[in-house]
Amino acid sequence: MPGVKAPRWPVWIILVAMTALVSIPLPDFVTPVRPPWATMAIIYWIMMWPRVFGLGTAWLIGLLLDILQGALLGQHALALTVVGYLTLRFHLQIRIFPLWQLTMTIFALLAIEAFILFWIDGVAGNPPAGVARWTQVLAGAIVWPPVMALMDRARERIEHRDPTFT
């Protein structure tokens, strides 16, 4: 299996770093335009390495997000797993989409995630997050093309790395 050759730890570092981005302190007015970095990273890597990263990865990253944000334990984990499932299920289709179509798909996936989070907040009786949750989805879709370009470069470097160095 080719996935064995490429090292995985750089990807884990990328995933955890993207997750940690939610904790970077920023002024309040930036909140509505903070993209959901962790979800975007998960979607990208499940789409590109579906045999290496799957639902387990999505769940773990979601759990990390829950702990960092002090959310209900399992809230982001569930939302990210569902998004991961959809990505895994359709990864062959969405991988060959042209960029604009892919961005639309990302928008839909992020919206599904936001809806699940919103729904769980409602059921658990947590105060709703308001409009910011939905503008964040839009922000995520807008920054997807550059983020994907960066991730592509990172992936190429990781895949073409000399395996003896791992």
């Binding site: 299996m1 080719p2 996935g3 050759k5 490429a6 955890v16 940690a20 939610v22 904790s23 970077i24 302190p25 920023l26 309040d28 909140t31 903070r34 590109m48 390495w49 579906p50 045999r51 290496v52 799957g54 639902l55 387990g56 769940w59 759990l63 990390l64 702990i67 960092l68 944000q69 002090g70 959310a71 209900l72 334990l73 399992g74 809230q75 984990a77 569930l78 797993t81 569902v82 499932y85 895994l88 299920r89 062959l92 991988r95 060959i96 989409f97 769980i120 658990a124 009786g125 947590n126 105060p127 997050a129 308001g130 910011a132 949750r133 592509d152 895949e159």
Partner: protein
């Protein structure tokens, strides 16, 4: 580009079926959420997990800490001297006030002794720093750099120089998470300093505003009234300033007043907080606190004799 992924082709027809996994993980997540929401059994698990992410939080906090260190080390002698002078002056003023406080405290202890009710003396405090880490951006939560290794406990009150800030909601070993009084989930038992009218101050989700929704229309409250903690509920020690009434709206159709209050503490500008250990009321104060009180009452009565 899309085709060039190294693992896409040869196994494309042997797709793993993620369906059963999804079901298992969903059930697991929902069970986790229900347990976490309903009861406190996950408290220890949470504090362990929270301790595990502590390194990530330290890393995120590092640039801010470094920046502060940098600005401290490059500040000029003149600025430092100015600051020193100002702080010295402030100490002088404060200690002058404190002299009076000692006498008052002693008097209070004596009066309480006459009434045979136990006095609550000697709140222990510890300074903690707020880490530059964002929690949920939709909620008013902070992370402080003291945890259960410093005896921080869940429900502990946080204050700063101006007033009540919030309470600890989760303790981890080296850090703790706290809820600010302005969070929409937070309610705080308060009383008006002027007439000891008790009510509850509820957070609004706005850092500069609290709401007092439970005062009837004939309540004696005016703009500018000071709110202090009433000590009811046992979480917050009584007598700490909370804020002041800023706006009162009397709607003739409604049973209750719509009252806004401004928190005394500058919640969006705090850097350091004080953790308070309150002696629970009804329990005799420890020996050293009592002897302190006796010393104080001796010094206070000494002048009269």
């Amino acid at each position: 580009m899309a085709f060039s992924t190294f693992d896409s082709d040869q196994r494309a027809f042997r797709e793993p079926n993620p369906g059963p996994r999804l079901v298992v993980i969903c059930i697991l997540s929902i069970a986790l959420m229900v347990t976490d929401n309903r009861n406190q059994t996950l408290q220890t698990v949470r504090s362990m997990l929270g301790t595990a992410v502590y390194p990530i939080r330290v890393l995120i906090d590092a640039p801010a800490t470094f920046g502060r260190w940098l600005s401290e080390s490059f500040s000029t002698r003149a600025t430092l001297l100015d600051e020193n002078l100002e702080l010295n002056e402030r100490i002088l003023v404060q200690s002058a006030r404190l002299q009076r406080l000692a006498a008052l405290e002693a008097e209070n202890a004596r009066l309480r002794a006459l009434l045979e009710s136990t006095a609550k003396i000697g709140d222990r405090v510890l300074i903690a720093e707020i880490m530059s880490v964002d929690m949920n951006p939709f909620r008013h939560r902070i992370v402080i750099n003291k945890g259960s290794s410093d005896d921080v406990y869940v429900g502990q009150a946080l204050i700063d120089a101006q007033g009540i800030i919030g309470q600890v909601t989760r303790d981890q070993v080296y850090s703790a998470e706290a809820l600010l009084i302005t969070d929409v989930d937070h309610a705080l038992p308060v009383e008006l300093l002027r007439n000891r009218l008790r009510t509850i101050a509820v957070g609004t989700g706005d850092l500069g505003r609290l709401s007092l929704p439970y005062l009837p229309r004939n309540a004696d409250v005016v703009e500018g009234d000071l709110l202090v903690t009433s000590g009811l509920g046992g979480t917050f020690p009584p007598g700490y300033p909370v804020g002041s009434v800023s706006k009162i709206t009397r709607n003739s159709g409604q049973q209750f007043l719509v009252i806004d209050a401004t928190p005394a503490a500058a919640l969006n500008r705090i850097r350091e907080v004080l953790l308070i250990w309150a002696e629970p009321t009804g329990v005799a104060p420890p020996a050293d606190a009592r002897s302190d009180a006796e010393n104080l009452s001796e010094t206070a009565t000494g002048g009269i004799d």
